[in-house]
């Protein structure tokens, strides 16, 4: 195992490359998941506020605030 990790003297090059591969793709994996959750949470909050303001009154502003 130590021999495998040493990569015959190339350990720093090989493992740093694999680390960058792993870190960047992990970030790429998590970002859209968080973004979708945030979008749904924001939407639920907005629907709740609308429901509290008045029963079933369709507000034209709801379509525009999709920031």
């Amino acid at each position: 195992m130590p021999e495998f990790l040493a990569m015959h003297g190339y350990a720093a090059y090989v493992w740093s490359s694999y680390a960058i591969f792993a870190v960047v793709l992990l970030a790429d994996l998590l970002l859209p998941i968080l973004r979708r959750r945030r979008a749904l949470a924001g939407l639920r909050g907005r629907l709740k506020r609308e429901a509290a303001r008045g029963k079933g009154a369709p507000s034209p502003s709801s379509a525009a605030t999709n920031a």
């Binding site: 990569m7 015959h8 090059y13 694999y18 591969f21 793709l25 970030a27 790429d28 939407l43 629907l47």
Partner: protein, 251 residues
């Protein structure tokens, strides 16, 4: 209408695509993880060390699949951008813009790992040779597309402007591919040939191809995940998104 064409039309509808992508996502992630693990094991453990480069050649197993994916993602972005520009299909615009950050991530990995590989192999971190420079230009094109998309307030107008930039940048793809033939470069020429004989031992080749499959599958998983989030934001005023948000709350 032909059922395949009909399905394709249906797929273009945001609520249908949202459900379709949601059904496929776990399988795509699982398949990418599985093939990725097998490929990494093959590349790090099974494949013998290179007779010239020793173990430093193992950087190839992250560098080359990412380089292929950087170009694949660009082509995917350009094709969807073109469809979005010509036929104004919302889903195509979304898919084009969803693939930009993923392609940028792959291109970034390619450049950094290439630099790390270059130091022990060539004796330098960086050189302004044709392959390296054209790859860097692609990263900047991705940044341009992402930046332009973010800079324009109206999301659909932004997508069309950014898609146009992406289409102009397509000229860079053949330059990257042929750079090692057209110019004298420090970067080595093509070793893997899908149609003919590859100049690489099969024990070294199969992990590379397995990782290529893994990164392709991962790309589609990532595009689907991004497109789903983007469609929710884009269609937040529509009934299907409202229903979905309320369903998610009760669940």
């Amino acid at each position: 209408m032909n059922p395949l064409v009909l399905w394709f039309h249906k797929l273009g509808s945001p609520p249908y695509f949202y459900r379709f992508a949601g059904r496929w996502l776990p399988w795509l992630y699982a398949l990418a993880l599985l093939t990725g693990a097998v490929g990494l094991y093959g590349g790090l453990v099974v494949a013998p060390a290179d007779y010239q480069q020793g173990d430093s050649f193992r950087i190839m197993y992250v560098h080359v699949p990412c380089a292929w994916m950087g170009m694949f993602a660009y082509a995917f972005m350009a094709v969807n951008g073109f469809i979005g520009l010509v036929w104004r299909i919302k889903l195509s615009e979304t898919l084009a813009m969803a693939s930009a950050p993923i392609g940028a991530a792959f291109t970034f990995i390619t450049l950094v790992t290439g630099s790390i590989w270059g130091k022990p192999t060539w004796g330098t971190w960086w050189t302004w040779d044709a392959r390296l420079t054209s790859e860097l230009v692609m990263l900047f094109l991705y940044f341009g597309v992402i930046g332009l998309y973010g800079a324009i307030e109206d999301t659909r107008q932004a997508a069309r402007a950014a898609a146009f930039l992406a289409l102009v940048g397509v000229v860079n793809l053949p330059i990257i591919h042929y750079s090692v033939l057209w110019w004298n470069t420090l970067h080595q020429a093509q070793t893997v040939n899908l149609l003919g004989q590859s100049k690489i031992d099969s024990r070294m080749l199969w992990p590379l191809l397995t990782l290529a499959i893994a990164t392709h599958v991962y790309f589609f998983a990532s595009v689907f995940a991004r497109a789903r989030a983007m469609l929710l934001e884009l269609e937040s005023g529509k009934d299907w998104v409202r229903t979905l948000a309320l369903e998610a709350e009760h669940a």
